[in-house]
Symmetry: C2
Subunit: 219 residues, 2 copies
DNA sequence: CCTTATTATTAAGTATGCTTAAAAATAGAA
DNA sequence: TTCTATTTTTAAGCATACTTAATAATAAGG
């Protein structure tokens, strides 16, 4: 499997998980920074290999073996993130950037070594679940997405699901970190804008960010 | 720079260092497991980029920038080897196999982190020197190649310059490890075969292996 | 020195993963 | 529902990194 194919499959998986996103060729193309034509082309190739279900003009979906492949790459990505964070103390953005490259050149053998070294972690430093070798993923059912978390309550940040440096910079500058306490205030603009209070500071966030931040009731 | 180009440049560098080897297209092709035609093709492309000197029907040589690129890849390779050996306790063959993949996806940023974590090592677990960021390499002038080491004397193994699993298996099975003591005995077959004594066991090695083993007088 | 064997090069062809441009299908708005 | 805008697909083309087959040059042996 090539890097391009692994990233294509991984992108489909992540779009399927994401809120308010679809897996149409154009969406995948935009996420990967390639042309729509290239995405259509790749969709046909991966369908021929039995990794995705592809019907012309329809959103693509992963087959079971495609899903397993996505999870294999994601497992390696998140193990590297946890490792680079733990051992070298890299930032949230740095671990993502480096893991994005290393994930494709990591043998199952090495992934197991990293996993054992870290004592089989269940989440990476972003709070993303680390899939097991058999493809099982445990999503915390306590996690609420900030864009839909009931107002008035106080929560702890449990997951920062972004990947862009801009997002992590914003989080850092505004004390939004895993474990940080925040209160959800009013919603404006038909729920597109959420008011939060964090360390006595009021912030207005739109869905670009509230769809990437997860919270839970207890720390 | 692509993986293919990095490996081509790296192979030229290693062939230049090796004993009884040349850097003709066919030799490079054999080392990389590609056809002679592909090697000629790549030679032309890299010459166009100013990384190698290529004249038809002549052995190729690295330019200064080609040499720096080879050393950059080699630095990352050997830092990974040292790291995987130290942190995960992988074998001599395993560290090589994994580093062979990781070396091409390692940023200078990450290489520096690994280097600092290991306290700026000067050699990897095989005894190979780790090039510095500026491209300087310190070869121990005390190292003697076993195929040319004067007979009758006792030495310590200082470097195992192979990469094949077969070579490392042989070394392990015969107690040839970095720091091990050995005595050079008679030479036969016009110097092609060297008798050594290691832990009271006599061994006959040919140049396939004695060109890959380095020794020195003091531990 | 000449013949032969080896090696290197060129030429033609293939798969991958992209691109842009044009055509076809779908989705959205009036 | 119809028109238009958007999206998807197809088509043609390109660069990379290989292949095999044929040709050319070099190296080696007698």
């Amino acid at each position: 499997m090539s890097v391009s194919k692994e990233n294509f499959i991984k992108t489909i998986y992540k779009l399927q998980q994401g809120v308010g996103q679809n897996t149409r060729p154009g969406t995948i193309a935009a996420a990967l920074g390639i042309s729509n034509a290239a995405a259509t082309d790749m969709a046909r190739k991966l369908a021929a290999r039995g990794l995705i279900n592809y019907v012309k003009y329809q959103p693509v979906t992963l087959t079971e073996s495609g899903r397993l492949m996505a999870l294999d790459v994601l497992r390696k990505h998140r193990l590297w993130e946890a490792f680079l964070f733990e051992v070298f103390g890299l930032s949230m953005h740095e671990i993502h950037r480096e893991a994005e490259l290393l994930e494709h050149q990591t043998s199952v053998f090495l992934a197991e070594k990293i996993d054992a070294f870290l004592n089989n972690p269940t989440t990476d430093p972003h709070g993303d679940p680390i899939p097991a070798t058999d493809g099982s993923v445990v999503f915390s059912n306590k996690n609420l997405i900030l864009s839909e978390a009931p107002a008035g309550a106080t929560y702890y940040v449990s997951r920062l699901a972004g990947s862009e440096e801009e997002f992590f910079d914003f989080c850092r500058d505004n004390k939004i970190a895993i474990g940080a306490q925040l209160t959800v205030g009013n919603r404006y603009n038909a729920g597109q804008t959420t008011e939060i209070v964090i360390e006595d500071t009021k912030l207005l966030l739109n869905t670009d960010f509230t769809n990437l931040i997860y919270v839970k009731q207890n720390q």
